[in-house]
C-alpha cells in the first residue's frame, strides 16, 4: 500500500500542491460571508430590481431596515428574527423562503446567518463564523447543467452509462457513472461524451474497458475533479494525457499497470492532492520481494 505522504517522498518530481484553505483565511464579515449567501438565495426577489414585500436584502442598511411592515433581523437573537424563521421552515410551508419551490438555504448557510445574527448582526466587524468547507468541491464546479441535462441523460442512456447531477446545485456538475455495466464503458463511449465533457466533474470508471486511448477523451473534461480508474488497462504513459486537467484533485489508479514513471506523467497536475496506487507496480509494497512484505 502506498500513502500520499509516502508517495511524495518516493517521487520528488511530482509537485503536488496541497489545497490551501484560502477562503477560510479571510475574516468573516457581513461583506465576505453574509452578503454572498443573501445574494445567492434572496436578492433575486429582494434586491435592486424587485422588492417583494418592500424588502431588500442587497445591502447591510436594507437588511437592517426590514420590509414594509417589520424588522426582519433582530440583532443578537436569530430565534425571533423573521428572516431566520422563514428560511428554516420546511419546503411545504407556504411561508418558506426562498418561495415558489426555489432551492432552500443549505444548513451551512443557515448556520452562518445564525452566527451573524447571534453576534449582533455587525455591519463591518468580523464575527465567529463556521469554517468554510476545506474540500475543493466549490459551488461553481462546472457550467449550469440545467439547459443540457435532458440531452446529457439521453446521451448517456444511449451509451449504456449514466450522467447524474452531483446535487441540486446546477453548477455542481455531473457524475459519470458506470457501475451497473462497467464493461460496456469503452474508449469509444468516452469519445462520444464530448458534447457534455465540460459538465463532468467526476468519472467513476473502475473496472471499465478504458485504455490509454480513453484517457485522451477524459483530458477534454476541463472540470474533472475526481477520476477513478481502478482495475482498468491504463498505463503511466497514457496518464500523461491528463496534464490538461487543471482541476483534477483525486486520481485512483488501484490495480492498474501504473509504474514508477507515473509520477513523471502526473507532474503537471496542479490540483492533484490524492493519488492511490495500491496494487500497482508503483506501489512499494508490491515492488518489494514477496518475502519482505510478510508481516
Amino acid at each position: 500500500m502506498i500513502s500520499y505522504s509516502k508517495f511524495l517522498t518516493l517521487s520528488a518530481a511530482l509537485a503536488l500542491v496541497a489545497i490551501s484553505p484560502q477562503l477560510g483565511a479571510e475574516p468573516a464579515t457581513f461583506a465576505t460571508r453574509v452578503a454572498p449567501v443573501l445574494e445567492k438565495n434572496c436578492t433575486g426577489c429582494h434586491g435592486e430590481n424587485k422588492q417583494k414585500g418592500g424588502l431588500r436584502l442587497d445591502t447591510f442598511a436594507h437588511v437592517m431596515r426590514g420590509s414594509d411592515d417589520r424588522v426582519v433581523v433582530k440583532a443578537g437573537d436569530f430565534s425571533t428574527s423573521e428572516l431566520h424563521r422563514r428560511i428554516i421552515l420546511p419546503a411545504s410551508d407556504e411561508d418558506v423562503m426562498p418561495s415558489d419551490g426555489k432551492p432552500l438555504l443549505s444548513s451551512a448557510d443557515i448556520a452562518l446567518l445564525e452566527k451573524w445574527i447571534a453576534a449582533g448582526a455587525p455591519a463591518t466587524e468580523p464575527f465567529d463564523a463556521p469554517a468554510l468547507a476545506r474540500l475543493p468541491i466549490t459551488s461553481s464546479a462546472a457550467p449550469d447543467y440545467r439547459p443540457r441535462l435532458a440531452a446529457a441523460t439521453a446521451l448517456a442512456q444511449k451509451l449504456g452509462v449514466r450522467l447524474v447531477p452531483r446535487s441540486i446545485v446546477p453548477t455542481d456538475g455531473l457524475i459519470l457513472r458506470t457501475a451497473s455495466a462497467p464493461t460496456q464503458c469503452t474508449d469509444a463511449v468516452l469519445a462520444q461524451l464530448a458534447p457534455v465533457a465540460d459538465l463532468i466533474v467526476e468519472a467513476e470508471l473502475a473496472r471499465t474497458k478504458i485504455t490509454d486511448a480513453g484517457l485522451a477523451s477524459l483530458a477534454l473534461c476541463p472540470n474533472l475533479q475526481i477520476l477513478d480508474l481502478t482495475q482498468t488497462a491504463v498505463t503511466a504513459q497514457g496518464l500523461g494525457a491528463l496534464h490538461l486537467l487543471k482541476n483534477l484533485g483525486v486520481l485512483n489508479l488501484t490495480n492498474t499497470a501504473a509504474d514508477k514513471t507515473t509520477a513523471a506523467s502526473l507532474k503537471n497536475l496542479p490540483s492533484l492532492h490524492r493519488l492511490w496506487l495500491f496494487g500497482t507496480p508503483a506501489d512499494p509494497v508490491i515492488a518489494k520481494p514477496a518475502a519482505a512484505v510478510v508481516k
Binding site: A91, S107, S167, I168, V169, D172, S180, E204, W276, V293
Partner: protein, 514 residues
C-alpha cells in the same frame, strides 16, 4: 364524469360500474372514502367466503398504500442531494446488544481507585433504573478490567481489547457523548436504526436509497448482514423492522444476505431452467403486474415489478460478488483467516468492502451478544477478538484502495452501560446494566475528521459533561455527509412531512466534519 379517484376500486363484481358508489359522490372527504373502502373490504370478506380471500389480500395491499397513492407519488426516481456529498456510501458495523463504553472507547482512569465504592447518589440523580438492577441494594463502581494505552499520532487512549483497531486509531472520530431515550434493546435499536422507537419508520439505509438511488442497478442499494456469533449470551432477535422501508417504497428496504454459504436463497436457476426461460417467466409475471397496475394504479405494484427485476439481475451480480478468489493474499492478512468462513463478522466486513466497491450505498453488518449483564470481562473479550482484526482490516483496506474518503464507516451499539456492577462485583468479574444517558461510537472516513474525539462524559461516564450528541444529531450528520439537509429529506405520509430526524430539533455535528 371521469373517475373521481385514480384508485376507484373495481374491487367487487357488485360494483361493476352499474351503480354509483361512494367514489362518485362529491363533497365526501377522501379520508371518509378511504374508511369506507376498508369497511367494505371487511364486509365483503366476511360475506363472500373463500373467493373473497384473494381480493381481501389485494385490498389490504391497497389499504396500506392508499396514502401514498393519494399523495400522487409519481415514481421511485431518486431525489438529488441538496449539496455536493462527501460520502457516497456507508458501512455500519452495528454492535447489537450495546457494548460497554468503559472497556472500549470512554477511558476512565479515575475509576480504578474507586473499585467497589458506591456510586454517589448525586451522580445517578434519581434516574429510574431497569427492573434488572432497580432492586439492587448497592451500586458499586466497576472500573474497566482492561487496560488502556495511547496509540497513534493523536495519542488516543485505546483499550487492550482492540489491539488491531488501535493501529487505525488515527482514522477514527470517537464520539463519547451519544445519548438516546430508550433503556431497553428493542426501542433503542429501532431508534438508532430508524429514528423512532415505534416500528414502521424507514431505516437510515432506506432513506439513503430513497434520496440517492443506486450507483449500481445490478445490486440492492441497501444490504444487511447478520454475523455468526462467537458466543451467544443475552442475544436479542433482529428483524427486518430494523432495515425496513417503512412508508417509503418497498424497494428501499435492505436485502438481507444470509450468513451461510449461500447468501441469497433460490438465486440459482433450477436444473433444466435456463436464463431465457427464467426471463420469459418474469416477463409474464411483470405483464400481469402491469395489467394490475393499469387497473388500480398502485405504485406498490411497480415496486414489486422492480423487485422481480432486481432478483433477476442479482442472479448474475451476486455470484461475482461472493466469489472471493480474486482477492490478493494481502486481504487475508488484513481481515484474518476467519474472513474465508461465510457468515463470520470478518467475512461480512470483507463483503461490505466488496459491496462498497460495486456501488452499494449502505451495508449494515450486525454483530450480536454485546449485552453483557454478567461475565462481562470474559464475554466482551471473545467478541472483541472476533471483531477487532476485521474492523481494522476494513478501515485499512478502504484506505489503501482510496475508498475511505468517500465511505463513511460507523461503529457502535444502541446505548451504553452502567458504571456500577449489575450483580456481584469481583475484580475479574462483573456485569453492567443498560444505560441510555451516554455511550460511545466511532465514525471514520466519509468526510469526518480523523484522529479526534468529540464530547465528554463525567468521571463515571454516567452523565454527559460536554457536547451531547443525540442519535438524531448523528442521523442529521450522516445525512449531511451524503449531501442532504435532514430537514429537507422528507416524504409526505399521514399528513406530515416525515423525516429521519423526526420533529424534535436535530443538529449536524459540524465540529467533527472536515
Amino acid at each position: 364524469m371521469a373517475s373521481p379517484h385514480p384508485l376507484q376500486p373495481d374491487l367487487c363484481s357488485d360494483h361493476g360500474g352499474e351503480h354509483p358508489t361512494i367514489w362518485d359522490l362529491p363533497n365526501i372527504p377522501l379520508g371518509l372514502k378511504q374508511e369506507w373502502l376498508n369497511l367494505e373490504t371487511r364486509r365483503h370478506f366476511l360475506g363472500r367466503g373463500a373467493k373473497a380471500l384473494a381480493w381481501a389480500g389485494l385490498a389490504s395491499i391497497l389499504g396500506r398504500s392508499l396514502p401514498r397513492a393519494l399523495a400522487n407519488e409519481s415514481s421511485s426516481a431518486p431525489l438529488l442531494p441538496h449539496f455536493a456529498p462527501k460520502a457516497k456510501r456507508a458501512i455500519y458495523l452495528f454492535m447489537a446488544g450495546a457494548p460497554s463504553q468503559f472497556e472500549t472507547w470512554d477511558y476512565k482512569p479515575g475509576l480504578s481507585s474507586m473499585f467497589n465504592q458506591d456510586l454517589p447518589e448525586s451522580v445517578r440523580g434519581g434516574q429510574q433504573l431497569t427492573g434488572m438492577t432497580a432492586s439492587q441494594t448497592r451500586f458499586p463502581v466497576a472500573p474497566s478490567f482492561y487496560k488502556f494505552a495511547q496509540h497513534g499520532q493523536a495519542g488516543r487512549w485505546c483499550s487492550e481489547l482492540f489491539p488491531y483497531t488501535a493501529k487505525v486509531s488515527d482514522e477514527l472520530c470517537v464520539i463519547k457523548s451519544l445519548h438516546t431515550e430508550a433503556i431497553n434493546h428493542e426501542p433503542a435499536i429501532l431508534s438508532i436504526t430508524t429514528g423512532n422507537m415505534f416500528p414502521g419508520k424507514p431505516s437510515v439505509g432506506a432513506w439513503l436509497s430513497y434520496g440517492l438511488g443506486a450507483i449500481n442497478d445490478e445490486l440492492p442499494t441497501f444490504v444487511v448482514m447478520i454475523s455468526k456469533m462467537p458466543i451467544q449470551v443475552n442475544v436479542q432477535a433482529l428483524s427486518n423492522r430494523l432495515w425496513s422501508s417503512g412508508f417509503l417504497s418497498p424497494e428501499h428496504a435492505a436485502v438481507a444476505l444470509r450468513s451461510g454459504s449461500n447468501p441469497v436463497l433460490h438465486l440459482k436457476d433450477p436444473p433444466g431452467v435456463d436464463r431465457s426461460v427464467r426471463r420469459a417467466m418474469i416477463d409474464g409475471v411483470n405483464d400481469l403486474n402491469h395489467q394490475l397496475f393499469d387497473r388500480v394504479g398502485d405504485p406498490e405494484i411497480n415496486a414489486r415489478i422492480s423487485q422481480y427485476e432486481m432478483a433477476f439481475r442479482m442472479q448474475t451480480s451476486v455470484p461475482e460478488l461472493t466469489n472471493f478468489s480474486d482477492e490478493p493474499s494481502s486481504t487475508w492478512d488484513l481481515y484474518g483467516p476467519k474472513a474465508k468462513e461465510p457468515g463470520t463478522f470478518a467475512y461480512n466486513c470483507l463483503m461490505a468492502r466488496r459491496l462498497a466497491e460495486r456501488g452499494v450505498r449502505f451495508s449494515q453488518v450486525f454483530l450480536r451478544s454485546w449485552d453483557q449483564h454478567n461475565n462481562l470481562p470474559t464475554n466482551i473479550k471473545i467478541l472483541a477478538e472476533d471483531s477487532d482484526r476485521p474492523t481494522q482490516g476494513l478501515i485499512a483496506d478502504l484506505k489503501r484502495r482510496g475508498m475511505l474518503d468517500d465511505t463513511l464507516v460507523i461503529w457502535g451499539g444502541e446505548f451504553g452501560r452502567t458504571v456500577y456492577s449489575q450483580g456481584a462485583l469481583k475484580p475479574q468479574d462483573y456485569g453492567r446494566d443498560h444505560h441510555p444517558r451516554c455511550f460511545s461510537m466511532w465514525l471514520a472516513g466519509g468526510g469526518v475528521k480523523p484522529g479526534i474525539s468529540y464530547g465528554e462524559t463525567d468521571d463515571f461516564s454516567y452523565n454527559i459533561a460536554k457536547d451531547p450528541v443525540h442519535i438524531r444529531d448523528l442521523h442529521a450528520t450522516m445525512l449531511h455527509q451524503f449531501g442532504f439537509d435532514h430537514e429537507r429529506l422528507t416524504h409526505k405520509f399521514q399528513g406530515l412531512e416525515q423525516k429521519l430526524t423526526g420533529v424534535l430539533p436535530a443538529r449536524v455535528i459540524r465540529d467533527i466534519l472536515l
